[in-house]
């Protein structure tokens, strides 16, 4: 039997990251609590070097390696850049918070980096098993992170919920994978797609497996009705962990859906399209309506995530390149806004005080007009008001859906989907406005100055201004998304 040395270069960023994680893990053992900042610097360095490795790899075309189980392509590269950048945001936003909460332990950084590694593997997965591997690496790291504050009963409860439900979802995914493998004998996306084409898409066993796969994807996205874990986990976890869960894993979920459904099962488009539509419409409705009833801002943002997932799923639902790039654009811009919004929650928290209620934002305009404006950027962005970038993201999806409806036999459904999207955007605008009502119209109940470190303030401001800037000049990112899809 010949042993062929595989081409490692497409997986270089992941290999580099894994090596650096080991360095961080080992170095942290020798760092005392007072000097934990060293771990922070090492983690940041790991993120930076990984980013350089990703930028350096620059794949122009799809490159397969490891016997076809690993793929490097332009779409993956962009998604990886975004994920790594988000992880840097997480570290920057959470540094002082963790110190003040007495949670400055090295595990936070190693677990986060392992989660990042899982995300990168998912983005590059080209077989169902690689995908599963990455997903589990991400999920296990996240379960542990949610329970990171071990003295908190709430955190432990939500970690338990997350773990049990996540395990069931992983089981579903595996079950679906085994069905597909049983029917087609392939786990690599390319051959899988060919095998389905040859066998014809009408095999009930395929559909059965597909349904389980879609359930797994929906769980990771947090799409209704597989969203139950999401609000509890968002609320129960410490805010930096919520920030982590709410940002980069959404990119991974998008990659999961794109790789499995679009790369692996394009022949079953007719079957998964309907499933995604139902998930998307339910997510839009439940997410946006239930968010109105929330008083806890982390919970509100959790339901708002569910609403946004509806848009992302509708982009994928179209089955067109325009739809995929719209979903990708939506994912990237949404995670930027979500990271910033949770960053604001961290900004307002301080030693012994969690700014978890929407009412904690009262009078922010009197305390700091600048950060009130930054919060306005995040909220108007999420609400989809032009000129903030969230508007273009919504427009892009709506446009793709209407465009896909032109050639579809039941085009009127697409028009109704577009109308549903805008109506739920209006409903969604209400709870974002309610936050801004606290920020701008109410008198402050708490006039303590904001004590966040300078670098967090600067990065958070850049994050917010990026939401505005990308909205004023949306062409570049739109063109980038369009160029890497298809």
């Amino acid at each position: 039997m010949d042993f062929i040395v595989p081409d490692f270069s497409p997986a270089l960023p992941e290999i580099v990251l894994l090596g650096l994680i080991c360095v961080v893990l080992l170095a942290d053992l020798f760092v005392t609590d007072e000097r934990r900042i060293i771990t922070w610097w090492l983690a940041m360095a790991a993120v930076a070097v990984t980013l350089l490795a990703i930028l350096g790899s620059a794949p122009d075309l799809r490159t397969l390696t490891f016997s076809g189980s690993y793929v490097a392509d332009p779409m993956g590269q962009i998604l990886k850049i975004v994920s790594v950048g988000l992880m840097a945001l997480v570290f920057i936003y959470s540094r002082q918070y963790l110190t003040e909460a007495g949670l400055r332990r090295g595990e936070f950084y190693t677990l986060s980096l392992f989660a990042l590694l899982g995300i990168l593997v998912m983005i590059s997965a080209n077989t169902l098993l690689t995908m599963y591997l990455g997903l589990e690496m991400l999920s296990l790291a996240l379960y542990a992170l949610v329970a990171f504050d071990r003295d908190s009963a709430v955190a432990a409860e939500s970690a338990m919920k997350y773990f049990v439900l996540g395990a069931i979802a992983s089981g579903m995914l595996l079950f679906g994978i085994s069905y597909l493998y049983g029917v087609t004998g392939a786990i690599e996306f390319g051959p899988l797609s060919l095998a389905i084409r040859d066998a014809g898409p009408d095999d009930v066993a395929l559909w059965f497996g597909l349904a389980f796969l879609v359930v797994g994807i929906a769980f990771k996205f947090g799409a209704v009705p597989f969203h139950m874990w999401l609000p509890d986990v968002y609320q129960g976890a410490r805010t930096p962990v919520t920030l982590l869960i709410g940002s980069a894993p959404k990119v991974a979920a998008f990659a999961l859906a794109m790789r499995i459904l679009v790369d692996g099962l394009p022949e079953l488009h007719g079957a998964w399209q309907g499933m995604l539509m139902i998930l998307a419409v339910l997510s839009l409705g439940v997410g946006n309506v239930v968010a109105i009833a929330q008083t806890n801002i982390k919970r509100m943002l959790a339901y708002s995530t569910i609403g946004h997932v509806g848009f992302i799923l509708l982009g994928i639902f179209t089955g067109t390149e325009a739809g995929y790039q719209a979903a990708m654009y939506y994912t990237i811009t949404y995670v930027l806004m979500a990271a910033g919004a949770f960053g604001m929650v961290i900004l307002l928290s301080r030693r012994g005080f969690e700014a978890e209620e929407i009412s904690d934002f009262k009078g922010l305009n009197s305390r700091s007009p600048w950060f009130a404006a930054m919060m306005a950027c995040f909220m108007f962005g999420m609400a989809g008001i032009p000129p903030w970038v969230g508007f273009w993201a919504k427009l892009n999806v709506i446009s793709a859906v209407l465009d896909a409806g032109r050639f579809a036999p039941d085009g009127v459904i697409y028009t109704w989907l577009a109308i549903l999207m805008v109506v739920f955007s209006v409903i969604g605008a209400y709870y974002y406005l309610r936050v801004l009502k606290c920020v701008y119209f109410d008198a402050p109940e708490d006039s303590a100055p904001l004590t966040a470190p300078r670098e967090m303030q600067v990065v958070l401001s850049v994050n917010a201004l990026a939401i505005l800037g990308l909205g004023l000049v949306p062409g570049t990112l739109l063109a980038l998304c369009a160029s890497v899809i298809g």
Binding site: P369, I385, P386, F391, L395, L402, L433, K437, F441
Partner: protein, 509 residues
């Protein structure tokens, strides 16, 4: 002189000025040098914008219906969206109205705004830029961006500086108008998907089937009817007006309501002539309901701002009546000559209503600053203590009632005249406004201004100060000027109106 980038200048100058004002900040108190510098920057920006808009009036070619001062460059290649600006005779008057009203609002704000004045002035300046953007945009997506972005400063203006129920009012305002606009967004995207372009002028030439036209017309109607506002989607307006600070009410009444009317002439009528014709009965009916029914509603108001708000709705009914009466004229007289009169009347009415309602809200603001009440019952005999103010107030009230010699008469007369050509009954119902308008306005004036001094508060009133005199005086001059000599305004738009009539009477099926 070269005016290549005039429109961009008009849009971005006030926005940049607003940011400068924000950067200067409030200072320690109203008398501090920093606060003075901030107010000076705000006033300077608004006056500079007014000055920059003058070439629009002098350099505008009145013989051409084509878009002028055009700027066009790619903005978003993926969607084929252009940064495309241009003006014709329908938009120039409204832009001039905007640049004329904003400095007055800034002057009127003066030192009377004590809560976060820098943000107040910045909000108005940014709002001015965005509103001018709406009137200039020739790309539907650019139009929509300005149209929606405009809500943000107004949301803050009402919410931060408004009255007691400001939060309810501002969220209602935002959601109401947002809900109306999103259907327009879907329609615009649909038109893009059909035509491959977001150019409004391309939409004008795009043939559209009747069924689609009707649906798009209804979607546009929702967006514009909420803005105008037309009965029965007017209910946000009295709330917003009553709770908004004086400057907010002025801008809302004088300019933002005109967005709806402008939307009809820029989008609905030329893009969807057949649907407009098919549904003109609906538009005329809603307009007449606004004129008559809302007129009666205005009659019973106890709150001055609410009364003026309802009177605005009734007057805007004239605007929509004038816009949609064309086909009935064609039917009853057999030709469309003279049909332009209704459109011209509607446009003149928009400008005139902008001046008059703005002035009336400023008058209420003058009294509110002194006694902190808007209730009619809390006043009486104001003429005894504020004679100069009373003179202004009576003038604007007369103008609101459509007295000949004031600008209020010109537009109403043109619309009634053209509706007479269409049907006697339209004209009769529209004509009731002359009675109703006079009734509610003059009755309010009688109760507030005339009679004996009603209470100690009124007895202690001081007459208008120099700043108030300046603002009201400028508006009074404008109202009278347009009343006796409307020709410059009518000339400005006549060719564009003719082109619109031609577009409206050409089927696109």
């Amino acid at each position: 002189m070269d005016f290549d980038y005039l429109l961009s200048l008009l849009i971005w100058l006030p926005i940049a000025g607003g940011l400068v004002v924000l950067a200067i900040g409030d200072g320690d108190d109203a008398a501090s040098p920093r606060a003075s510098a901030m107010r000076l920057a705000a006033l300077g920006t608004s006056l500079a914008t007014l000055a920059a808009s003058l070439p629009l009036f002098t350099g505008f070619d009145r013989a051409s219906a084509a878009m002028q001062f055009v700027e066009r460059m790619p903005w978003i290649d993926t969607f084929n969206v252009f940064y495309h600006l241009g003006v014709d005779g329908l938009s120039v008057p409204l832009i001039l109205l905007t640049t004329f009203i904003t400095p007055l609002v800034v002057i009127a704000g003066g030192r009377s705004i004590t809560k976060r004045p820098a943000q107040y002035f910045a909000a108005f300046l940014i709002l001015e830029g965005l509103m001018i953007g709406v009137f200039c945009a020739l790309d539907a997506m650019l139009f929509y961006v300005f149209w929606e972005a405009m809500l943000v400063p107004m949301f803050l203006i009402i919410g931060v500086w408004g009255g007691e129920r400001r939060i309810y009012a501002t969220i209602k305002f935002f959601l109401y108008t947002f809900l109306g606009s999103v259907f327009m967004l879907v329609s615009l995207i649909w038109l893009y998907v059909q035509s491959g372009s977001y150019g409004i002028l391309d939409f004008h030439a795009l043939p559209i089937a009747m069924e689609a036209q009707i649906l798009i017309f209804l979607a546009f109607l929702l967006a514009f009817a909420v803005k105008v506002p037309m009965w029965p989607v007017h209910t946000w307006l009295p709330d917003a007006h009553v709770e908004a600070p004086t400057g907010g009410s002025v801008v809302l009444a004088a300019i933002m309501l005109k967005m709806g009317g402008y939307g009809f002439v820029r989008l609905s009528l030329p893009i969807l002539p057949d649907a407009s014709q098919a549904l003109d009965w609906l538009m005329i009916a809603l307009s007449l309901i606004a004129v008559v029914y809302i007129g009666f509603v205005a009659l019973v108001q106890q709150d001055m701002k609410k009364l003026i708000a309802y009177s605005s709705i009734a007057h805007m009914g004239f605007v929509t009546l004038g816009f949609f009466v064309l086909w009935d004229i064609e039917q009853s007289t057999g030709s469309v000559s003279g049909a332009g009169l209704g459109l011209t009347g509607g446009m003149v009415q928009m400008v005139s209503h902008g001046l008059i309602s703005g002035a009336l809200f400023l008058c209420v603001g003058v009294m509110y600053d002194r006694l902190h009440t808007r209730n009619i019952a809390d006043y009486g005999g104001v003429v005894n203590t504020m004679p100069v103010f009373a003179a202004f107030m009576v003038l604007f009230a007369m103008a609101n009632a459509g007295l000949p010699g004031t600008s209020g008469f010109v537009g109403e007369f043109m619309v009634i005249l053209s509706s007479f050509q269409a049907s006697f009954w339209y004209a009769l119902l529209a004509g009731t406004t002359l009675v109703l308008g006079a009734a509610y306005t003059l009755w309010m004036v009688k109760r507030v201004i005339f009679g004996d001094v009603a209470n100690e508060g009124v007895a202690g009133l001081a007459d208008v100060n120099g700043r108030e005199f300046l603002v009201l005086g400028i508006l009074a001059a404008a109202v009278l000027l347009l009343g006796v000599w409307p020709a410059p305004l009518v000339d400005l738009m006549s060719v564009s109106v003719d082109q619109l009539v031609e577009q409206m009477s050409r089927s696109k099926l």
